[in-house]
């Protein structure tokens, strides 16, 4: 993290949406982050926050009916995704954007590799572990079949699989969950990528095995210098492994900070809530404080700040203002960004508005706030707020909360 020259990967205002019969699901709604060489960047949030869709968007692997609709993804100066406005005012794919074939041959595997959540399902049951490793190595590196085989066996040894030459010939079902996840790590590293996306790689594993895998990745990361995007919902894992963290809520990044900053100087109430809902060795609490309510669906995100219906600090202004992720502090020359209007950089709107206390009031108020036009412009109104009908749906969302 020494030199802040050019990032390895830069994501700007990425939006990925799913066009379903029920409406447009805004799975990823304008996120921006960078990954620098050699660092492990966390992407944290509850299930459904859009972490996995965001990480798959980086490889342009979003399954239909999903589609990347806006934003820019640059990797080592190459444009994985980029749009520009054409003469007719519509958005078009940029000239320099890689074609599907180029993304497949130049990016997937050899530049950006992935490790998936479920090691039980990720390996093909009818091929030997070795043949799958060898296939991916041959595809992504300039090696002959024999060399790829040798490399595969070496990599299996490297990730701590005993008797790698024998295990090479075995099928996935003959491996335990932890061993299979080691195979997937070997697979990722063997392709010699510069970036590995680890999508909840330890979620399906026992806690003891999880610890081993994290230690293994830590060691290998130090040895190979590979950058990681570590997708997880587990703050404990984040603390253990990440250098910088992006906290996602409902398709947006709400806080972005170096890991220590995030834990000791938390700036967003959602991050705070996430931390309070898990046991921490540095604090003794009588009982854990789970986040109240459930995350709304990304099909009808609440107007204003998306977290406000669940936020303990929410005030009236939070229902109107949809804050962007702004720098609220600096630590070691790195920005600490948060998307919460209680911070001074967002003006004094928050200070002047009344707290949202009674849920009944909240419901009643939200039914009318669509008509109000607060032009004071601390922050542009939510992108979604401009769409008709959205506010009233957000209101019904509150109604849903009431019943719980």
């Amino acid at each position: 993290m020494s030199s802040r020259s050019d990032p390895l990967l830069r994501v700007e205002n990425l939006k990925t949406q799913f066009f379903t019969d029920a409406g447009t699901v805004r799975a990823v709604d304008g996120i921006s982050f960078e990954v620098y060489e050699g660092e492990i960047v966390g992407l944290v949030g509850e299930s459904g926050a859009g972490k996995s869709v965001a990480s798959m968007s980086l490889l342009r692997l979003v399954d239909s009916p999903g589609q990347i609709v806006d934003g820019e993804i640059t990797y080592k100066g190459e444009t994985i995704f980029g749009l520009e406005e054409g003469p007719d005012g519509d958005l078009h794919e940029r000239e320099d954007m890689l074609t599907n074939e180029e993304v497949r041959t130049r990016i997937r595997g050899n530049e950006i590799a992935v490790i998936f959540q479920d090691p039980m399902e990720s390996l093909n049951p009818v091929f030997t572990v070795g043949s799958q490793l060898r296939e991916f190595i041959e595809l992504n590196r300039d090696l002959s079949s024999d060399e790829a085989r040798r490399e595969a066996v070496d990599m299996l040894r490297e990730v701590g699989i005993p008797d790698p030459a024998e295990r090479y010939e075995e099928y996935p079902h003959q491996f335990s969950g932890g061993m299979r996840q080691r195979v997937l790590i070997a697979m990722a590293l063997a392709c010699e990528p510069n970036l590995i996306i680890a999508d909840e790689p330890t979620t399906a594993l026992d806690v003891t095995v999880e610890g081993q895998i994290i230690d293994l990745v830590d060691d290998l990361q130090a040895k190979y210098g590979t950058s990681f995007i570590w997708v997880t919902h587990d703050m404990g894992v984040v603390a253990e492994i990440c250098d910088r963290v992006n906290v996602m809520y409902l398709g947006e990044i709400v806080e972005q900070a170096p890991v220590d900053e995030l834990f000791y100087d938390t700036k967003h109430p959602y991050t705070e809530a996430l931390l309070n809902s898990m046991p921490r060795p540095d604090r003794t609490v009588a009982e854990l404080d789970p986040i109240r309510g459930v995350m709304p669906e990304a099909i009808n995100p609440p107007a204003g700040c998306r977290f406000h219906p669940r936020c303990p600090d929410a005030r009236e202004a939070c229902k109107r203002i949809h804050p962007e992720n702004r720098e609220v502090a600096r630590a070691d020359g790195q920005p600490h960004r948060a998307a919460c209007i209680k911070h001074d950089v967002f003006g004094d709107e928050y200070e002047e508005s009344v707290p949202l206390e009674e849920r009944a009031q909240e419901t009643a108020a939200s039914a009318t706030d669509g008509g109000e036009s607060e032009g004071s412009g601390v922050e542009s109104r939510s992108q979604s707020g401009s769409e008709s009908g959205n506010t009233s749906k957000a209101g019904s969302q509150h109604g849903g909360d009431d019943r719980e």
């Binding site: 490889l59 692997l61 497949r104 041959t105 990016i107 997937r108 595997g109 050899n110 590799a113 992935v114 998936f116 479920d118 399902e121 990720s122 390996l123 093909n124 049951p125 009818v126 091929f127 030997t128 296939e135 991916f136 595809l139 992504n140 099928y171 079902h173 997937l184 697979m187 392709c191």
Partner: protein, 332 residues
Amino acid sequence: MGLLRYTAGRVVQAIPVLIGITVITFILANLAPGDPVRLMLQGQEVNQEVIARIERQYGLHRPLHERYLTYMSNVLQGDLGHSIHRDRPVTALLAQRAGPTLMLVLSAYAFALATAIPLGIIAATRRNEPTDHVSRIVALIGVSTPSFWIGIVLILIFAIQLGWLPSSGLVYPWRSPDQYGYSGYPELAYQTIRHLLLPMIALGTLQMATLMRVERTQMIESLQGEYVKLARAYGVPERTILRKHAFQVAQLPIITIIGLNLSTALGGAVLTEYVFNINGIGRLFLEAIQSLDYQLIMGITIVIGTMFVVGVIITDISYAYIDPRVTYGEHD
């Protein structure tokens, strides 16, 4: 080797099944109305003494269980008895008729597989597009239409209306061309195919329709597998994913369906042989039932039952061979 022991185990397990088949058919055949001796005499008036003599000659005067045991000991020695009606050994009759039936059933399966797998894959990759809908309708028609009806329609169109193909009989490639008066082997091969085409389609359509639907479902499921996602993420071309990664996994249930559908295929063969006038086991079976030829009915039932059991065993073994997750019973 595990596979060998597994095979032996499956064969041993099949023995009780085969015994069950013989017991049930033996009892049913003997309980059925109609007296074989009187049937053989074809209404001639004879005295009791003659009837008793004939009964003794064929052992019909002894109790059922004794007759069953005698019969089974003969079966184990390869003797399926003697057709009273036709006055010929059952084994000889079966040997003569087995070729056409095997040829028909195997070619129907070949036709079904050759069409169902590509069509199923196409339907899976174009899910919910017009191609998929068309294939669904074709499959539905195929599943719900009896083979003899398809056979009759095929004859009406291709044999009678268009006159392109023959409507009855088969040409056997194992005979010499001179027997048919053909110029040589090329013509023999050509005629074999011409004669086989319609009955093969008539019998194979049901299998084709079933297999196509299974193939489609399996491919869709397989293409959604995490291993396919992983392969994509590592830059494997879509073509390879389809042909190798998704395909291999999707074929496992197909094998099961083939094995289990053997019974419907053999049942369909009876009717198809009748419609197309093919001298196979199926037609022999119908004729045996019509003439209450018990020895022949028993013999054919045992042979068809054995064929089915063998088919299922082959299915299991090939499953174990193709799917590495199936253990041979030694890891459990």
